[in-house]
Amino acid sequence: MNTLNELKCTFPARSENESFARTMVCSFASQLDPTVEELADLRTAVSEAVTNSIVHAYRSTEPGLIAVTVRLLPGDVIYIRIADKGCGIADIEQAMQPLFSSAPAEERAGLGFTVMQSFTDSLTVRSKSGHGTTVTMRKKLRHGKE
């Protein structure tokens, strides 16, 4: 797959970086002149993925790193990869169930993956216990046209 442009960034899994991460991805996506709604969808999907890493990946260790890669692919497709090297997800299928959360005490709604799925065109989750989780999303920008 030809990558037309790419941005890579690594930052510590701290909650104050949630805002920074979604703003960065949206700034990069802006070169495709997305609609307000498309940009809001991307912003929300990225926020969910990064928040998952911050809330879950390093819960029993010091906050490690989150690596974000954003690519511009042919056909106005934005590719986003968000990876951590945290505890991993033991049961991905269960984690992706709407309203399932392993952190209900922190008032996590259990809707992160549901939002990512709904606001992008494709979502892939790879995870290995003890090795981390990588979330990949793609969204074709249609500029308001179908």
């Binding site: 909650s15 104050e16 949630e18 805002s19 979604r22 709604e37 809001a40 912003r43 929300t44 926020s47 969910e48 928040t51 911050i54 809330v55 922190e106 008032e107 996590r108 709604a109 809707l111 992160g112 549901t114 939002v115 709904s118």
Partner: protein, 114 residues
């Protein structure tokens, strides 16, 4: 950010800025403290000045809905902007609370179902 407005039996939480996981805890604590003090009949979460919300905001709504059940009050969501309405619909949180637009004279309840 949250600013609380107390009236007899009514508590309004004027939310503003970005409602994400980073900001949700502080907002939640401020609201819960006031609810437990005041035991309002109605708690209004006003999203009119919220510029961004992810599922952390849904967690906030679900948690306040449970708290109000416990204290015997009802929850209302006022003035959610477009992006927030989309997240509300997706989560079904629009079934947990009455949603109203109170600005621009559009007082009666809005039907947000697609």
């Amino acid at each position: 950010m949250v600013e609380l407005k107390e009236e007899p039996r009514k508590l309004t939480a004027m939310l503003s800025g970005e409602l994400d996981h980073h900001h949700a805890k502080e907002i939640r604590e401020a609201i819960d403290f006031a609810v437990r003090e005041q035991l309002p009949k109605t708690l209004i979460l006003d999203f009119g000045h919220v510029t961004f919300m992810d599922s952390s905001g849904i967690g906030l709504i679900m948690g306040r809905s449970r708290l109000l059940e416990e204290t015997g009050g009802t929850l209302e969501i006022h003035n959610p902007p477009q992006q927030i309405r989309k997240v509300l619909r997706l989560s079904g949180a629009d079934r947990l609370a009455v949603i109203r637009d109170t600005v621009n004279g559009k007082e009666p309840e809005h039907e947000y179902a697609q």
